[in-house]
């Protein structure tokens, strides 16, 4: 009887433990990384990143006139996106459908203090909720708007963020763009004071069926704004600098199913109407890479590709030179669903997968570097990962299921991978080789590293060594290039022997002909 009671209590404890959303806040969590080889087999690698910080709320400390300090904390609701600035701040969009907040953190995880242009502290701005502007006294005060939502100082209506799902910090103009989905607008704030600059509403000349509900956005070097609307099959909305509509951009190609095609070809019009339509897959997220190309991801199962690098014409120019395609996990029932992408200036990109909570790292050539991360309730694991961004060499990842933000710092292996990729991108071959050698010292399974060293050997015309490395890295194309060089050298060195053998062979054939005919003639006489 006692045993049974204990068992029931244990079961209840287990069930309760399962419902606790966030248990531990451990300081580090060692991940098991892996990568894929040429044949699609999983090869383990060491962890490339370690958890260094978990942030679940923003705490604002305020000192009043008597010198007393009070702390107010703003816990995360639904953390939906994250971006970073070049001076090391982390900006988090917390978009619950009712309200919305944007937090500005310092790199150490504390809430940033906001100063105006004269260096005076502005209070009540961070986290951003109600849009503020400067009043006559030089203090931050609420912005008032008219019935159309445009700024108007004569009214008393204030306006706040509502369900903001995306943030983008535009370094060139020092502006923060917030996708204020609940209010169907884009809010542009100053990048230093975070005071109001302008609103962008649905452009009057916008065509198409897409509702203007910005979810994610990016701004390029020509200040054009790229807006992703959830489940829009018309592509990414491109807006001009002034907020007017430019075009739909980068329409995604759906896969065509042969069986569907057959049924549709024999169906009547009425039947066709009842069948589901095949829409172009919708994009999930956009960002810009170091060269100004738009990088976008989709998790739509109907899409033929899941990671895009779009040129100005909207064509996908993603490099896929690796041994495996850029699709995340391989295998028939392993399809990864990418929610966000973060790109380093030297082209290394990390994509965040929400089906298995994985982070995939590829270099600019599309070669897989490493994979880590998992689903779960432990600190460092994911439940519903939403956004990813690079903070220097660290990775910042938000999770709306666990309502937290993780900061990951690279391990020695991760650093070696990043340094090797940077040197490789910049063409510093010798430096890249030494970093790749370091990578291989830590993990002998990574084909990308063998190929990297092989390419350097190929440049230096050490063909035999290059062939050895390309074989280890399973790169058939470059092996062939190295072999071509090697073969030419062997042929040159042994030209004498080859020439003699060839002459002897030709001579023998000719001689046998001559001898045969002589014999025939003799016989016929």
């Amino acid at each position: 009887m006692m045993k049974r009671i204990i068992a029931i209590m244990l079961a209840a404890l287990l069930i309760l433990a399962g419902s606790v959303s966030f248990a531990a806040t451990g300081s580090s969590n060692v991940y098991q990384g892996y990568t894929f080889d040429f044949y699609g087999n999983i090869k383990s690698t060491p962890a490339a990143f370690n958890l260094s910080m978990v942030i679940t709320e923003g705490t604002v400390y305020r000192t009043n006139s008597k010198g007393q300090t009070s702390a107010t904390s703003f816990p995360f609701n639904t953390v939906s996106d994250v971006c970073t600035t070049s001076d090391g701040r982390i900006i988090v969009a917390d978009g619950n459908p009712e309200t919305g907040r944007v937090y500005i953190f310092n790199a150490d995880g504390t809430m940033a203090t906001i100063y105006d242009e004269n260096g005076n502290e502005l209070t009540g701005i961070n986290p951003i909720n109600t849009i503020k502007t400067l009043n006559d006294k030089g203090r931050a005060s609420n912005l008032t708007v008219d019935a159309n939502g445009m700024p108007d100082s004569s009214t008393k209506t204030t306006t706040s963020l509502k369900g903001c799902e995306g943030v983008f910090f535009h370094e060139k103009t020092n502006e923060l763009y917030i996708a204020d989905s609940g209010n169907q607008r884009i809010v542009v704030l100053d990048g230093t004071t975070f005071l109001f600059k302008r609103f962008i509403y649905r452009p009057a000349d916008m065509t198409g069926a897409t509702e203007f509900k910005p979810a994610k956005l990016a701004v390029d070097n020509a200040d054009r704004i790229y807006v992703v609307v959830k489940s829009s099959y018309e592509g990414i909305i491109e807006l001009n600098e002034d907020g007017s509509f430019s075009r739909y951009f980068g329409v995604n190609e759906p896969t065509i199913n042969l069986l569907d095609f057959f049924w549709k070809s024999i169906a009547t019009d009425e039947q066709k109407e009842k069948m589901g339509k095949t829409y172009a897959p919708a994009f999930n997220n956009v960002t810009l890479d170091g060269e100004g190309f738009i990088m976008a991801v989709t998790s739509d199962s109907a899409a033929t590709k899941s990671v895009f690098r779009l040129n100005f014409a909207g064509a996908n120019v993603l490099r896929e030179m690796g041994n495996t395609p850029v699709v995340g996990d391989l295998g028939p029932d392993a399809a990864s669903a990418f929610t966000d992408i973060a790109v380093k200036p030297y082209g290394v990109y990390a994509v965040l997968d929400k089906t298995r909570g994985r982070i995939f790292m590829y270099n600019f050539d599309g070669e897989l570097l490493t994979v880590f991360g998992s689903m779960g309730n432990l600190s460092g694991q994911f439940r519903n990962p939403t956004g990813i961004a690079w903070l220097g060499d660290k990775l910042v990842v938000t999770d709306s299921g666990l309502k937290c933000m993780y900061i990951f710092e690279p391990t020695d292996f991760g650093m070696a991978l990043l340094n090797a990729s940077e040197a490789y991108y910049n063409g510093d071959w010798d430096e890249a080789t030494s970093w790749f050698e370091e990578v291989l010292r830590l993990c002998a399974n990574l084909e990308t590293a063998y190929v990297g060293i092989g390419k350097n050997k190929l440049m230096q015309e050490e063909y035999e060594e290059a062939m050895r490395y390309f074989k280890l890295g399973n790169n058939h194309e470059f092996y062939s290039k190295a072999y071509k060089g090697y073969r030419t050298i062997v042929m040159k060195e042994n030209f004498g022997i080859i020439a003699v053998v060839a002459v002897v062979a030709i001579g023998a054939v000719l001689w046998s002909e001559v001898a045969y005919h002589r014999k025939q003639r003799r016989l016929s006489k």
Binding site: F38, N41, H476, Y479, S480, K484, R487
Partner: protein
């Protein structure tokens, strides 16, 4: 009785270059040799294993770590045996004159072309670059085409079929092979179930008797 005579070796070569005449002689004047045919089949199966491993790296997309020579060998042989048996089952029903022995000999003699082609490609692939792979694949294609020609000519001759009848019988052969495979799998599954049934009954009895 001598198993292998010079005459039979000569007709092996003759049937490759003059298939209609050669296979006629083999069928109706007993110039074929089961020994040569089986030797060719074994050589071909061994060559499949060799080409899996020793095709040059530029052309070789196989994972050598996962190579299973025995399964390559057995599957090659069983395909030929299955093709012979299913062709024989079909042609006996449709007035084919060929015996199982003749069909087997035709298929195995035709394999000679594939042996030559595979040997050349496997050897030469170690000395080519990606751009030259096309030359080797075209050699391979020519060999396959000639193999199919030999097969059609040989089977047509031994069965005394018209061209259309011959093609129809070959299509039916594929169907028959599928049926044989299906029945084979069925029997294996049934045997497995019977075995597990008997095994569990025995175990039950043993436990009760204890």
């Amino acid at each position: 009785m001598k198993l292998l005579t010079k005459d039979k070796l000569q007709y092996w070569g003759h049937s490759l270059l003059h298939p209609f005449d050669g296979f006629f002689e083999i069928r109706f004047r007993n110039h074929g040799s089961l020994l040569i045919a089986t030797a060719l089949l074994v050589i071909y199966a061994i060559l499949r294993c060799l080409s899996y491993q020793y095709t040059g790296f530029v052309m070789n997309m196989n994972n050598i770590d996962e190579m299973d020579a025995l399964s390559i060998f057995i599957s090659t042989i069983s395909v030929v045996v299955l093709a012979s048996v299913s062709n024989w089952t079909i042609t006996t029903l449709f007035n084919g004159k060929g015996k199982l022995k003749d069909i087997y000999i035709v298929i195995c003699y035709s394999l000679t072309v594939l042996i030559v082609g595979d040997a050349i490609v496997t050897f030469a692939s170690n000395f080519v670059t990606t751009e030259e792979v096309m030359i080797l694949t075209s050699i391979q294609m020519v060999c396959y085409a000639y193999f199919v020609f030999l097969l059609i000519a040989g089977l047509g001759t031994v069965h005394e079929y018209s061209f259309a009848g011959n093609l129809a019988s070959m299509v039916m052969t594929v169907v028959a092979a599928a049926v044989i495979l299906f029945i084979g799998v069925l029997i294996f599954t049934m045997l497995e179930r019977m075995y597990s049934f008997v095994a569990s009954v025995t175990e039950e009895l043993m436990r009760r008797l204890q």
